[in-house]
Structures are given as C-alpha cells and as structure tokens.
C-alpha cells in the first residue's frame, strides 16, 4: 500500500510537468499578442520591443518555458498582465477569504 502511494506520488511529478508544458504552449499559441494588451494606448514599435524584451517574450518559446519553470518552482509565478501584481501575492491574498468562505459558518 505504502509502495503504491509512493509510486502514485512520484508519477505526479512527470504528469504535473506535462500539464505545465501543455498549458504553457496552449497559452502562448493562442492568437493575439500580450504585449499589445499590456501596452494599452501605446503603440510605438520601440516601446513595444522594449516591453517584449523586458518580459522575455523575444526569446524562443522553450527558453521562455524554462525561465518560467525556474521562477515558478522558486515561488515566483510572475506578474498579472492586468494589475501587474505578483501572481503568488494575488493568490495568497485571496486564500484566507477562500478558506473562510469554504468552511461551514458557525
């Protein structure tokens, strides 16, 4: 039984990895350009290139993935495109509210 649980747990690692690869690829392959959304009412090619460089979007996709993964395992999930707030912070900020609303109210 212990062995079985261990095996399942170990299997989770490649599964989780595959999931991140698929999700990452899907998001990057979706049409549209995040830089354009982020730049808002600014469209100077130089400014767009600066933003693209700042966010590493000028790198090949596998490189982008490795950078993202490296940061993610260290707890840095990047910043929200919309609010520029660190994503991890956004999650931890909401977690207490989530758990309190999930718990039965006394």
């Amino acid at each position: 039984m212990t062995q079985y649980i261990l095996r399942r747990l170990l299997l989770m690692v490649p599964v989780a990895f595959l999931v991140t690869v698929i999700v990452f690829t899907l998001i990057r392959l979706s049409p549209g350009d995040p830089v354009l959304v982020f730049a808002g009412e600014e469209r100077d090619p130089e400014a767009l290139d600066a933003l693209r460089h700042q966010y590493g979007l000028d790198q090949p996709m596998p490189v982008q993935f490795v950078v993202w993964l490296e940061h993610a395992v260290q707890g840095d999930l990047g910043r929200s495109l919309r609010t520029r707030q660190p994503v991890l912070e956004a999650i931890t900020e909401r977690l207490p509210k989530l758990s309190s609303s999930a718990a039965p109210r006394s």
Binding site: S30, G32, D33, P34, E41, R43, D44, L51, R84, A90
Partner: protein
C-alpha cells in the same frame, strides 16, 4: 451673539439650496450653484472603476492610474475645466519665436511631501528620467525634447529638436508630473517605488496607504501651495479613501446608499435614474475620447475602396447609436477633434442625417456588386455586440451586409496592429488634451495607431504644419482642413461618437465639476456639515 442667531439661518438656507440642486438634472452645466462657503475637514470615499496599477507616472499605462496621480502629483501645467492649458507648477511660460525652446518660470513655494524642494533641477531630473529610462511609457510624449537646461533655481528651459506645438499639452499629464528624487532614490527598487510611492509628489494629497485590490488612502497635504478664490488654503478635505469597484451598478449603488461620496464612471443605463434622484448630483461634460469604426484600407481588402468607407459613413445613423446604445450619453461625432478641443468646429456635421440612398448610389458607382464585409467585436462584451447589431441593421437599409465576428480582444488588437483584419474593427480611444494627440498617430502615414493603413499626402502636410506653428489660429485651420479630408473626402475611418466626462456625487459633497479629461480635482471638493 448676533452671529449665533444668524448661523442656523445660513445653515438652513444652505440645506435648501442643496436640496434644490440635488433634485435637478444638471447635465452639461457647471457645478451645483451653491453659494455656501466651503468648509475644511471631513473624509470622502471615491468609488473607482478598477484598482490603480502604477503610482509611478513613468511606468503608468492605464487611465485608471491617473485618478490617483492627479491627487498626489502636480504637473508643470494643467488644464482648467474647459480644457484650456493653465499655469500650475509653472507660473508662466514663453515659447521662442522659432518654436524651438520653451522657458518655464516655476513657482517658488513648492515642496515635495517628503520635505525636499521643488525647483528647476527637479524638473530637469524628472524629464530626463522620463526620457532616458528604458521602458519608460513617457518617452514618446517627450520625443521632441532634446535637452532640459537649468537657467536658475526657478527657471527651466526645454530645448526642442524641432518646433512641436503639442508638447505643452503633454506636460499637463504624466510626462509633466514631478516626482521627488529623494523619494525615488530611497526606494529599494523601481517596483517598490511603483507600488509604494509614498510622499513622492507635491500635490494636494499624500498617498499614505495602498492595499492592493482593497483601498488606497490619501491624506491632506497641509502645506500645498493652492488657494481658493477667497485665499483660503486648499485642499479642504482631510482624507480620501479610494475603493476599486469594477461593477458599474455596484459603484452607483455605493453612491446611492452613501457608502461612497463620488464616482466618475456611471453606466449610461443608470444615468436617467441618478439624475432624478434627490440626494444625488449628476454632471457631465464632453470629453476628448472618441468611438470609430476602423476599416482596413490595405490593398487586397474590401475597404481599399475609399468610396465604400464613405458609403458606410453615410448609411449609419449616429444619433440612433447614441440614443439606443448609450442612452444619449455622449455627443455625436464625425472626426477626431472633440468638443472640448480648441480646434473643434461645431458646424462640422458632414453626415448629420443618415443617407442610405446616397450610400446605395456610391456602392453602385464602384460597380463591383453589393457591399459585404465583416466587423470584429470583442467577445464577452454585451454593449459592443448590441452596438454592432444596431449598426448592422442600419447598414442593411442601404443594402450593405455586415457580418459580426466575435474574437478575443487580444486577437483583434493583433489583427488591427498588423493590418490583416478583413473588414472593420471598433476599438475606442480615450482621448488626448491636444487634438494632435487624437489625430496624428491615427491618420498620418505609417504612424503606430494608423490601424486603417491610411495615407493621404495633404493630410500629412496639414498635420505637420499644425505641429510646427504655435499660432493657435493657424493650427486650428490646418487641423480642420485635415479633418475634412480624413473624415469625409478621402475617409480613414467612420467616426461616430465623442465620450463624455461624468461625475456623480452625493448632494452634500460640493465644489466639484467634471473635467474633459474625466479626472476628479479633489482639492476643490468639500463636505457640507
């Protein structure tokens, strides 16, 4: 003793005036005609449409941020409520006859919230930071500036690469906002500064707390330089709490119930209700932003034929769009020069009445059969879909068939920027103080916001002309001449509406009026006791 008896009388009168003002729809007018004298003190809550992103004017790219910037920072110049540029941190300025230098004389009584002094050195440091920092969102607005020269402590000279009349208007907003060098350098990183820019401005209020997605607290700057017309110190309020509320009806409800005192973005459908409600005052004023249908004029696409663009412009009923989709909130428009711009021509109404028969004739004249194309609409936005459907029905009266295609916003932006969309797109523009900011990048050959891939030599010539002269009359003539070409004769787009600046306050919150840039000037607001 006498004054003790008179006071309640004055108070009663004030309440009466307030009650009358509150019950009246005050669309388009000035602030409520209260003769009561402003009293200092009190705290208000501002229901803002979203959470501000960047407190640093250098990095800010969102309209939402400016709602906070204008309270904590002062700019070199500002606009008054009619849209005219007025002195602010600069008491006066002089443009050299050749238009290549602007010399500003600065106020001498200004200090930053952190105690450091505002002077010509400070202007130089700020402008250079905006120009030279990599990834600065301000560098484009200051592209005409070559060097900034300190003449003496209160005189600073901008040397331009070439004459550029719209520069002054750019210094009204973030590119002209002054930040304390000491506060910036004390921050551990630019990120830190962006999110905790405490005590960094010279403005009427100081940022004292910022809790992401919850609230922002601004407190009175007791040593602000501004005075009211009686010479009393501004601002009146002790404290402003800014609460981000993204749902427009929740925002309105918050003002209704008194949980908030003010909001500046009200859903058009709610306006009729708040106008008649006692205890609330609604005001509006034409703003700088516009709505337009953007055709792709590139060869190979249907709107490469300019007569088709003109046919669509003739066939649509702008008044009906305004009334049915926006509940009458806004102004019918035909071009880029908005009612609050100095160059606006109220008699410019080229497509005042829809003319489906004329549109039919134009399509026949082209001789390539019936006109059919697609319009891209951002998915998930009911108002945009409704707008597209109404336009679709209007065009059908001229036998023009428009298919509605819904795509993700990001995808539409990309197609638009690449000029690869097939027919039309419809993405609004928030507007700029100078008409050049609404026009040049949108219709000048090869410019970044020229999404219709438009190019007309005469338009380019007129637009260059108005940039190079600081003579307002000459600028006006050139801007209008260009507008007639890109909106009518050889159309770049189908403009149909100008937006309005809105302001909803509880009746006891006095002194505010809408500004065409839609930003609230809290320093003039006061609470009736």
């Amino acid at each position: 003793m006498r004054s003790a008896r008179v006071l309640p009388l004055i108070a009663m009168l004030a309440i009466l005036v307030a009650a009358c003002a509150g019950g009246q729809p005050t669309g388009g007018g000035a602030a409520s005609p209260s003769t009561a004298k402003a009293v200092p003190g009190g705290a208000v809550t501002f229901a803002l449409e979203d959470d501000p992103i960047d407190f640093d004017p250098l990095r800010s790219r969102a309209f939402i941020d400016r709602n906070v910037h204008y309270q904590i920072y002062d700019s070199i110049v500002r606009i008054d409520s009619s849209g005219k540029i007025v002195p602010w941190l600069a008491e006066k300025w002089e443009v050299a006859p050749d238009g290549k230098t602007i010399t500003f004389t600065l106020r001498k009584d200004v200090t930053y919230h952190d105690g450091s002094v505002f002077d010509a050195e400070s202007v130089k440091w700020n402008i250079e930071r905006y120009i030279k920092t990599q990834g600065s969102a301000r560098s484009g607005e200051l592209a005409s500036v070559d060097t900034v020269q300190v003449v003496d402590a209160s005189t600073v000279k901008f040397n331009l690469k070439a004459p550029f009349a719209p520069l002054l208007a750019n210094l009204v907003d973030r590119a002209g906002m002054m930040v304390s060098r000491k506060a910036f350098e004390a921050a551990t990183s630019p990120d830190d500064f962006t999110r905790k820019a405490f005590k960094a401005g010279t403005g009427p209020f100081m940022l004292t707390e910022a809790v992401k997605n919850d609230h922002i607290t601004l407190e009175k700057n007791p040593s602000w330089w501004g005075k009211d017309k009686d010479g009393s110190a501004l601002p009146y309020l002790d404290k402003i709490t800014i609460k981000p509320i993204t749902d427009s009806s929740v925002r309105t409800t918050n003002v209704r119930t008194g949980d908030a005192h003010v909001a500046n973005s009200i859903a058009p459908k709610d306006v009729a209700g708040v106008k008649t409600e006692s205890g609330l005052v609604y005001q509006e004023k034409p703003a700088f932003g516009f709505n337009s249908l953007i055709p792709n004029r590139k060869p190979g696409f249907v709107f490469n034929e300019a007569r088709y663009i003109r046919a669509v412009s003739m066939a649509i009923d702008r008044k009906e769009i305004l009334d049915k989709v926006y509940f009458g909130i806004g102004v019918v428009g035909y071009g880029t020069i908005a009612p609050s711009h100095f160059a606006y021509d109220p008699s410019f109404k080229p497509f005042e009445k829809p003319d489906p028969e004329g549109a039919k004739r134009l399509v026949q004249e082209v001789g390539k059969g019936p006109l059919q194309f697609e319009v891209l609409v951002a998915a998930g936005d009911a108002l945009l879909l409704q707008r597209a459907q109404l336009i679709q029905a209007q065009l059908l009266k001229a036998d023009i068939k428009m298919d509605i295609v819904q795509l993700q916003f990001a995808e539409i932006l990309k197609l638009q920027n690449d000029h690869t969309f097939k027919g039309l797109t419809d993405i609004g523009w928030s507007g700029r103080i100078d008409p050049d900011g609404n026009t040049y990048d949108h219709v000048y050959s090869g410019r970044p916001f020229n999404d219709s891939a438009y190019s007309n030599k005469d338009v380019d010539k007129f637009l260059d002309e108005q940039r190079a002269t600081s003579d307002q009359e000459k600028r006006k003539a050139a801007l209008r001449a260009a507008e007639k070409i890109y909106a009518v004769d050889d159309p770049a787009r189908i403009w149909y509406r100008f937006v309005v600046a809105q302001l909803l306050t509880v009746a006891k919150f006095k002194g505010l009026e809408p500004y065409p840039d839609q930003i609230i000037r809290f320093q003039y607001g006061w609470l009736q006791k």
